[in-house]
Structure formats: C-alpha cells, structure tokens
C-alpha cells in the first residue's frame, strides 16, 4: 500500500490553488503594488553593476556634498548628489538594494529553517522536549529584539555577517511558536492518523504530512520577518554595529550622514526613504498574503 493518496494533493490541484491564491491576492491593490515594487527592486539589485552610473565606493574629491540635479549647484553627473567624501548617492542606493535583499533572504532562511525544525519537534513530540524548547524561546523573546541583537553583535564583533546571525537568532522564536501551534492543531487530524497507520515514519509525518498544512501562517510571518530584518540590520548599521563603511548598506549610509543633517538633506533623506519604501512594499505584500492565505480573515 502506498501512502501517496493520503498525503500530497492530487496533481492539477496545485495550479488551482495558485489560481485561487492569486485571485484573493489581486483583490488587495496595495499588495499588488508592493509586489511590483519588490520585483523591480530584485531586478535592480541583480543588475546593479549595469544600472549604477558610478562605482559605489570610489570617491570623487572634486565633488563633495553635491546636491541632487534639480537643486542649485547640482549636476546630471550625479543625479541624486554625492556624500561627504564624493561618492555617488544613486549608485550607493542601487548597490544598497543588494545588501538589504541579501540580509532579508539570509535572515529569513536561517530563522525559518531553524524555527520550523524546533517548532515541529516541539509540537510533534510534546512532553519535556516541548517544554525545554518553548522555555528557551520564551527567554529569547523576553529581551527586546534589537537590544539582544546589539549585544550579540557586540559579543561576536561588528559586521554584516554577525548582524545577520544575531537578527536571525532573535526572529527565529516567532517561527518556532507558529509552527508548534500549527502542528498541535494538525497532528491529531484524520489525515495524519491515516498516514501514521499507513506506516509513515516520524520524519516523514513531520515534514511531508504535517508541515505542508502549516505553511500559510509561516509564509505570512516570513514576509514580516523579511521587512523586520531589513529594518533591524539598518538600525544596527546606523548604530555602527552592522555593515561597516564603506559598504553601501542603507543604514550604514545614514550613520555616516548623521553629522550633515542640517546642511545636506539629501545624504540623510534618500537612504532612509529607500529603507522605508522597501519595507513598506514588503509589508504591503505581507498584508495581501495574509488575506489570500488565511481563510479565517478572508472577506473580513
């Protein structure tokens, strides 16, 4: 006897599910705009060396703090102006998109995988294993996330890699809790029982039978963590604990620009605007995903 009919959906329904998902997702106009922006951002990040008019690191000592082209004193050589050491802001922003997306992907991947494994084990086995894992998650959640990340980076040493590890550690308990809650809701359902009776092993039950049915809230949480990771990494960069200069990371750019806030608005305004719009686009997508994936909230 094979257990295929019990677990995976029949072929053909995947496409139907996707179509249904798109139908609901499309209803939320903001989410669609967010998606468009996000896709554009990904393309921009991939093509950064082609799109950027200048090298993001090279300093032009003859053009310090040049304003954007529409302002008096600006030039079209540097469309969005230059920073205090004569680097092109537009090019730095374009390259910065690479860092932000990279941070989001790495942090979400680490925390999603870690959280799913811990949550599955915790919810599936229960008992003392569950108690220990959940208490450890409680401890991590008891600290304000940015503070814990800051201290972790202080221990590990400032830098982008360590900042990503720290943010992944602090955002991972959310995934573990969500997975556990979903597993508890699913593990006594009939299809799980059927798979168990059919002889599926523990690992198969956890990852093939139960996990696919717990994915909806995790996907929504993943988008929230993605934008959260970008914000936290920028905050760490701003505090001097994230990416180090001259890396064109948006938060680090802001930290370098702080002293010029009252005389060169563009060096401060533009990197922050880039962070805000990116995070906003991802959050809009997250709202749309929640509407489309969460049947409880559908049509509310």
């Amino acid at each position: 006897m094979t257990d295929t009919p019990v677990t995976g959906p029949a072929p053909g329904t995947t496409r139907q599910m996707l179509a249904e998902f798109w139908f609901y997702f499309r209803e939320n106009r903001g989410a669609v705009y967010g998606l468009y922006f996000f896709v554009a951002l990904v393309i921009m990040a991939l093509l950064a060396p082609v799109l950027a008019p200048h090298d993001p690191i090279i300093q032009d000592r003859s053009a310090l703090l040049v304003p954007p082209f529409w302002q008096e004193g600006g030039s079209t050589t540097y469309l969005l102006g230059t920073d205090a050491v004569g680097r092109d802001i537009l090019s730095r922003l374009i390259f910065g998109a690479r860092y932000s997306l990279f941070i989001g992907i790495v942090v979400v991947s680490i925390s999603l995988v870690g959280g799913i494994v811990l949550g599955l084990v915790s919810g599936f086995f229960g008992g003392w294993i569950d108690a220990v894992i959940m208490r450890v998650m409680d401890v991590i959640l008891a600290f304000p996330s940015l503070l814990l990340a800051l201290v972790l980076v202080a221990v590990l040493g400032p830098g982008l890699t360590n900042a990503m590890i720290a943010i992944a550690i602090v955002s991972q308990p959310h995934f573990a809790r969500l997975t556990r809650a979903a597993v508890l809701g699913e593990k006594n359902r009939e299809y799980v029982m059927a798979a168990r009776v059919a002889g599926a092993g523990k690992v198969r039950l956890m990852f093939r039978t139960i996990l696919p049915n717990c994915l909806a809230p995790l996907i929504v949480q993943a988008t929230l963590s993605f934008s959260g990771a970008i914000l936290d990494a920028a905050a760490l960069g701003f505090l001097g604990m994230g990416a180090q200069p001259p890396t064109p990371e948006w938060g680090t750019m802001l930290a370098e620009a702080r002293e010029f806030i009252l005389r060169a608005w563009w060096v401060v305004t533009l990197p922050g605007l880039a962070i805000l719009i990116t995070v906003l686009a991802i959050n809009l997508m997250g709202d749309g995903l929640r509407d489309a994936l969460d049947p409880k909230l559908k049509r509310s």
């Binding site: 450890v136 008891a142 600290f143 814990l148 920028a234 905050a235 701003f238 001097g240 990197p271 962070i275």
Partner: protein, 335 residues
C-alpha cells in the same frame, strides 16, 4: 484569581532563570580573557592577574560561579560599572526615569490617537478615512524610526527652529530632580519657563518613539473592532433598538479592547528597543543610550546587568498585562 496569579508566576521562574543564564554567559563567551579585558590596555602583572581571577571567582567551576552570580543578584548586587565606578544598579535607577518618562509619553500618544482612529476606521470601513489612516498606519509600521527622528530634527529643529535638537532641558535651568521626571521636577522647581523647556525637549522624541506602537495599535484596534462588530451579540443589541453610541461604546468596544490591551502590553518591548534608537538620536540620557554607550565603551558589567534589568522589566510588564487580561476576560482566567 489567586490560583491564576500563582500559575502565571511559576510560569515565569524558568524564563527568569534563562535570562540570568544568558546574562551570565555573556561575559564568558566574549572573545578573550574577561580579566584582561577589564584591565584594559595597561595590562597587569601575573600576580595581579591571579589575584583578580581569584577575586572575581574565575578560577572556580562554572556552576559555582553561576550560583554565586545568582546569589549576588538576589541581594541586589549587579556589579560595578568600569566607566563610572558606581554600582550598575544605582546608574540604572538614576537613568531609568528619563526612559520611563519618554516611554510613558510615547504610549499615551500611541493609545490616545491609535484607539480612536482604529475604532473610527472600523466603523467607517472602506471609507476614505479608513483607507487613508490605514495607509498611514502601514507607513508608520514600516518606518525606520532612526531616520524618522532625523527627518523631524531637520524639519522642526533645522528649518522651523521650533524644537531643540537634543537633551532633556535647556542648560540655563538647574534644579534638583527628586522624581527624575523632568516634566514634574520642572513644575516643582517653580522656575519660569522650565516646564515649557522640558516639554519642548520631550515632544520630538516622544513622537518618534510613539510611531510604531501607534501604527500597531491603530491596526489592531480596527481589526478587533471589525471582528466584534460582526458578532451576534452586537446584532442583538442593535436589533433590540439600543442607541448606536451605546452599542459601539458598551457592547463592542469593551470586547474589542481585550486583544488591544494585549497589543499595548506587547509594545513595551518594542518601546525598549525603540528607546535605544530614539535616545541615541536625541542624546536623551536614558537607559537606551546608556546601553549603546556601554557597548561601544566595552563596559561589560553594565551591558550584562543592563540586559538583565531590561529583560526583567519587560517580563514584569508582560506579567501585569497577562494578569489584567485575566481580570477583564474570565474565559482566560478559568481556562
């Protein structure tokens, strides 16, 4: 109710022990020798090193060190700051009112605006008011607040010259601070203009710190209200001819507030994280800035105990929220 409170308290003990373990391990997992780190660049003689090791207890087994650490904590001994040479706890208590004042103003702004906006948005669902406020709320929720603070400084302090850039009060005022809350102390001092100066200094940081909680509270209030408005008992109340104001105010709002109160409670952790950034931008002399400065100064006793104290405060606040939740929602209390 007492059983419920005791249950929640016992639930906290493992978390508290976990927090102390995290704070305790912090100094041990630092790269390098903690004693040499404390000695700084001057270094020390081998005899002095041995003496320090023995004095700080680093030559004993790790569990013994941990138990002693716990014992000291329970006696209120949180170590001394390398920088100020003062007990960490007294530095903390001296700076905490500044953060508390800021956080308090921020949460008042967030609740005073967020709850009514959320309720109105839910009542006028789909209207331009709903759409505009919810778009603004999402923008607020996505805001990098360190940048938002800089923007407000550029505009209100730079362009308009209305507000000061940093600090808690103008340097021309000097008076004793019995409560630690500048707004109250400036009133008590009786000096002319002191209160106005304190308020001017407080306004921008409070707005910055309030931004994310405000957005979260507005969104949460709206969705909680929408859910409640769809309930049968609200329909019944409407059907039996109660005034719309009474239906909303008594029947809907009271029930919608339950998840909102939890959300407000959860914002305390967010406020603590936000205080780190807000205080850094506005040079606000509170515990957020103190932590950041101590990290860059490598003042590890402060970082270690500060971490513990802040986590402890967040934990206690969450406990209070939990208990309040049980108080207003009997279903939770008796489950």
């Amino acid at each position: 109710m007492i059983k419920f409170i005791l249950g929640r308290l016992t639930y906290l003990i493992p978390t508290f022990i976990g927090i102390t373990i995290v704070a305790f391990s912090f100094v041990r997992i630092l790269p390098g020798d903690p004693v040499l780190l404390m000695a700084g660049e001057r270094g020390m003689t081998p005899e002095h090193y041995q003496e320090m090791m023995a004095r700080l207890g680093f030559d004993r087994p790790i569990w013994e060190q941990y138990l002693e650490y716990l014992w000291r904590l329970l006696h209120g001994n949180f170590g001394d700051s390398i920088n100020t040479k003062q007990p960490v706890l007294s530095d903390f208590l001296a700076l905490f009112p500044a953060t508390l004042e800021l956080a308090f103003c921020a949460i008042i702004i967030a609740v005073a605006i967020g709850v009514p906006v959320g309720v109105l948005a839910a009542l006028k669902r789909g209207s331009w008011f709903d759409q505009t406020t919810m778009t603004v709320a999402l923008i607020g929720y996505s805001m990098p607040i360190f940048w938002w603070g800089l923007l407000l400084i550029i505009f209100f302090s730079g362009t308009l010259g209305w507000t000061p850039v940093s600090g808690r009060i103008s340097l021309m005022f000097y008076f004793p601070t019995p409560t630690g809350f500048m707004l109250i102390d400036s009133l008590l001092s009786g000096q002319k203009g002191a209160f106005a100066s304190a308020a001017e200094h407080l306004i921008l940081p409070s707005i910055v710190l309030a931004t994310i909680p405000l957005a979260v509270i507005a969104r949460q209030t709206r969705s909680a209200m929408l859910e409640v408005l769809g309930e049968d008992y609200v329909r019944t109340a409407k059907a039996k001819g109660l005034a719309p104001g009474r239906v909303v105010g008594v029947h809907a709002l009271r029930n919608a507030m339950i998840p909102v109160i939890t959300t407000i409670g959860l914002q305390i952790g967010v406020l603590m994280a936000g205080a780190i950034l807000t205080e850094t931008i506005f040079s606000w002399p509170g515990i957020g800035k103190w932590m950041v400065d101590s990290i860059s100064r490598r003042d590890y006793p402060v970082v270690q105990s500060g971490l513990l104290l802040i986590a402890g405060i967040v934990m206690v606040v969450n406990l209070i929220v939990d208990l309040l939740y049980g108080l207003i929602n009997p279903r939770i209390r008796h489950s």
